[in-house]
Amino acid sequence: MEQYRLEKVAKVFSRQQIALAGIDLSVRPGEKIAFIGPSGAGKTTLFRLLNLTLRPSSGRLWLDGDDVEKLHGKRLRETRRKIGTVYQQHNLVPRLKVIHNVLSGRLGRWSTAGSLFSLLRPLDVESAHQALKQVGIEEKIFTRTDELSGGQQQRVAIARVLIQNPEIVLADEPVSSVDPSLATAIVRLLIEISRDMHKTLLVNLHSVDLALEFFPRVIGIKNGAAVFDLTPEKITDGLLEDLYSGHFPQNGEDDITDENPSPPVLQ
């Protein structure tokens, strides 16, 4: 059975800003897919739809056979538990210690009272330590998160996903804020985790090279639509040129994660 199934999924933000213009997609369990494309193409919006943060404006999205339109309250939270997300900006809580940021991956399974208690006395130090060891920074377990470097914070975010132990891992530009050698290491880490633990892995990547090197399926997104969906050997320079043509990266430009993004204006 398919894990994700998208039919003509579109997302329009207020003021007629079209972030996604109708995407069809099907993902089988255990697949590893890289999404590439210019900034502002709608990749981040797509991921926020896939992890059930946003709702499609039109079209339909099924996750494990459930129509996400029908998920609310407790069932919505239980479904979100199945999906772990690594964000471009790490999205950790800066003033908390590393261990609490890692253990927050458990919140979906913990009771409210238990999770409050854990802020005073961490409930599962052993698992947190294990997860941090897996990403190579177990010595930072009791450090305050805002004292870590960008690359270390990204590892904490990955450890949080490990603790969450989801069926699907989404990583939205996980390496755009780290240097190239670390980028390769982090992508390799994500691939290993998903292979060893049989998880579906979807990654947004700035770097075409990393996408082509590590992923058996690569999807190009442009102007809120999928322009190709191929194995890496079928992706020609011409296709890549078309994907990025008409796009002039500007200083400070980034993929949009805001409520009011500035996507390509389709009129």
């Binding site: 059930l52 609310h72 239980e78 003033r95 927050s104 919140l107 999770s115």
Partner: protein, 284 residues
């Protein structure tokens, strides 16, 4: 980077509104001066001058006799206790209501988008809770603590307890309002990440929300406690215990030297509270 889709400003068109508001402001000022009866000459007229001299002269020297000072110990402690208990009640009221009155917690933003999409009943419920919380806070705040104290004295009798209740309710309204503003200004990205793990809203609040604003939260609460010390010192004027009661008695007896002593005690008290809260803030 955020870029607005359309810039709707038109700078070439000059608006008359600034001038209109300027005029309105001047008129308001002039009329207020007249109606409130500001009369600076009162300080220079013979009668006024004599009153001031009598009052200020009567204050010196302050009454530092051991008998009067011993009499002050009880009310001073009581004033501090009223402020502490009142502030605790204010936090107990203001914190939960303030959370519900936080827009991006209760109704809007990324924590409610998926949950309320296509579920109008859910949205309506959240929106009414939000409005109710805001309304309640406004109501608590709209009535001055002095008037609350007056009403509570009628309800539960004289003594420190009505003072505690008055501070609790009035300051609960102020704390709740400011808490909600502090909470609304939080960075939503960590909250989104917590939500995506399947956490519920309370868990998101204590893991993502409160840690981000904690220093602000504490320092504003301490500031309100300072204000509560001052407020509880005068609530005695309507019979709600503390130093205020003594101030009223001394005023009525024209014992101005006692008044100066009381003012000194008040000053020392506020300075001490200020010192304590500065120390706490420095730790954060």
């Amino acid at each position: 980077m955020k870029t607005p889709a359309r810039l709707s400003f038109n700078n070439s068109e000059k608006s008359v509104f600034p001038y209109l508001f300027g005029l309105l402001f001047v008129l308001t000022l002039a009329d207020s001066w007249r109606r409130v009866g500001v009369d600076l000459l009162v300080f220079f007229e013979r009668q006024g001058r004599e009153n001031i001299v009598k009052f200020l002269g009567g204050m010196f020297p302050p009454d530092l006799s051991s008998g009067f000072l011993a009499l002050m110990v009880g009310p001073t402690l009581e004033t501090i206790q009223i402020s502490v208990m009142g502030t605790l009640i204010a936090i107990a009221l203001g914190f939960p209501i303030g959370i519900l009155a936080t827009r991006n917690f209760s109704v809007g933003g990324i924590l409610n988008e998926a949950d309320t999409a296509g579920a109008p009943a859910r949205f309506a419920l959240r929106f009414s809770i939000y409005c109710f919380a805001r309304g309640l806070l406004s109501f608590f705040r709209a009535i001055p603590e002095f008037v609350w104290a007056f009403m509570f004295v009628r309800a539960v009798g004289l003594g420190p307890f009505p003072g505690v209740l008055a501070i609790g309710v009035a300051y609960g309204g102020m704390l709740g309002k400011v808490y909600s503003e502090i909470f609304e200004a939080v960075n939503p990205r960590p909250l989104e990440a917590l939500q995506s793990t399947g956490a519920n809203k309370l868990q998101i609040f204590f893991y993502g929300w409160l840690p981000q604003v904690f220093p602000n939260f504490i320092s504003y609460t301490l500031y309100r406690w300072e204000c509560a010390v001052r407020a509880s010192a005068i609530l005695g004027l309507v019979g709600a215990g503390g130093l205020g009661q003594q101030i009223e008695i001394s005023m009525r007896m024209f014992n101005f030297n006692e008044i100066l002593t009381l003012l000194i005690v008040l000053f020392l008290m506020v300075a001490a509270v200020d010192y304590i809260s500065a120390k706490v803030r420095a730790i954060l």
